[in-house]
């Protein structure tokens, strides 16, 4: 097994998803409601991982723009479930780099009067370790 394949194994383990199953049909990207916000599109996650361009993925803002709406997961015809690859990227950043996307100090000024608790909890889960 090459070094790259070993790294991909790790991502496979975290995500529970196999990027090699992707056939580049783009149904995920077609379905993605956050398309306009994502610098790397959902269908590209599999190819970035396979090519070993993990750094670029980790530096992208795409991982933080995913809404976790599961549309890509639901519709993927190859069972790659791109949303899981996106989340794995987020995990890698949060775990290894501590690069949280949301700092507690930011919260007070973002708070709105009627903001539901669910929003804050979700945002902390998604944006932080």
């Amino acid at each position: 097994m090459t070094e790259l394949e070993k790294n991909i194994e790790i991502i496979k383990e975290i995500s529970g998803s196999d990027p090699y199953k992707c056939m580049r049909c783009g149904k995920c990207t077609a379905s993605c409601p956050a398309y306009s916000e994502m610098d790397i599109k959902p269908h590209q996650f599999a190819s970035y991982i396979i090519r070993g361009d993990l750094e670029e993925l980790i530096d992208s803002k795409a991982a933080w723009k995913c809404l976790s709406c599961f549309a890509c997961i639901e519709r993927c015809p190859r069972d790659v479930q791109p949303g899981k690859l996106v989340d794995a990227t987020r995990q890698i950043v949060a775990r290894q780099r501590g690069g949280d996307y949301l700092q507690p100090e930011e919260v007070p000024e973002l708070l709105a009067e009627d903001l539901p608790q669910q929003l804050l909890v979700s945002a902390f889960r998604r944006y932080r370790r």
Binding site: G16, L67, E74, D87, S122
Partner: protein, 263 residues
């Protein structure tokens, strides 16, 4: 019929309407909600990473509690529904998560996904039945054209949540029909409202909700119903020209059953 009830954090605060009308309606429909004592927040989103354990434990505790009571577990909030059902599926089918969570929790006997998790709407559909519900309606919502807004968390992933057809659901439409209203079917009903990105990208959620209002009102909806406090927040924040009132489904239920006052 008694059910364990998991209200979740938001229903205790910003979404009290969702909760109180549900409780009043449950009484009218003849079933009892027993709130789980000392429940902990589900976390709002399901941790997708297959090696995430700690973040799933609060759900496991609630699920195990319901098992000990010998009751099915009801939720209302679409996020809690999503998280509880998925963690339950993990505890049933994913050997590694099951073992590690049980090792940590040290219950009297290991929890293996025995509890049945139900959304309030599923109880109405599968236990009470829409026909029975319509018989109990005292103030039918006649003439109201109501769009069901499902969002994402109640439906997907369809295989695990098993709530309804994730691409072409009909449970809320049937519900509206049972209450005497006219359901409005539109294609954005299962598209994301923008979710938690409202915190850092409020403009983006505004774009999304505008599309939802445009589509639903285009088909003639004069109001929307939802089961999700976050969808409710985002839809309410919308500045869309086509904006119409948004209700929790339980509010219309209480109205139709004539139990608004007591709630």
């Amino acid at each position: 019929m008694k059910y364990s009830y998991y209200p979740g954090c938001t229903l205790k605060n910003k979404a009290q309407d969702l909760d109180k009308y549900a409780r009043a309606s449950a009484v009218a429909l003849g079933f009892e909600l027993e709130e789980i004592p000392e429940w902990q927040c589900c976390g709002g989103v399901y941790p997708l990473g297959s090696d995430e354990i700690a973040t799933k434990l609060s759900s496991v505790r609630a699920l195990n509690y319901a098992k000990e009571q010998g009751q099915d577990l009801i939720t209302l909030c679409s996020a809690c529904h999503h998280v509880l059902k998925r963690v339950n599926d993990d505890m049933k089918n994913v050997e590694d998560i099951k073992n590690r969570a049980n090792n940590y929790c040290e219950f009297d006997e290991p929890y293996q996904g025995e509890t049945k998790v139900l959304h309030f709407l599923e109880v109405i559909r599968d236990v009470i039945g829409f026909e029975e519900l319509s018989k109990k309606v005292v103030n039918p919502l006649e003439g109201r054209k109501i769009g069901a807004y499902y969002g994402c968390l109640t439906l997907r992933p369809g295989k695990i949540l098993d709530f309804d057809d994730p691409e072409n659901p009909k449970i809320m439409e049937d519900f509206i029909r049972a209450l005497g209203g006219e359901p409005v079917v539109y294609s954005m009903r299962n598209e994301c409202c923008g979710g938690y990105t409202a915190l850092k990208d409020p403009d983006f959620t505004k774009q999304r909700t505008e599309q939802i209002f445009d589509d639903s009102t285009g088909f003639g909806a004069d109001c929307l119903i939802t089961a999700c406090p976050l969808c409710m927040y985002n839809l309410n924040k919308s500045e869309a020209k086509s904006k119409v009132p948004v209700y929790y489904f339980t509010e219309l239920l209480a109205e139709a059953l004539g139990v608004m006052e007591g709630a």
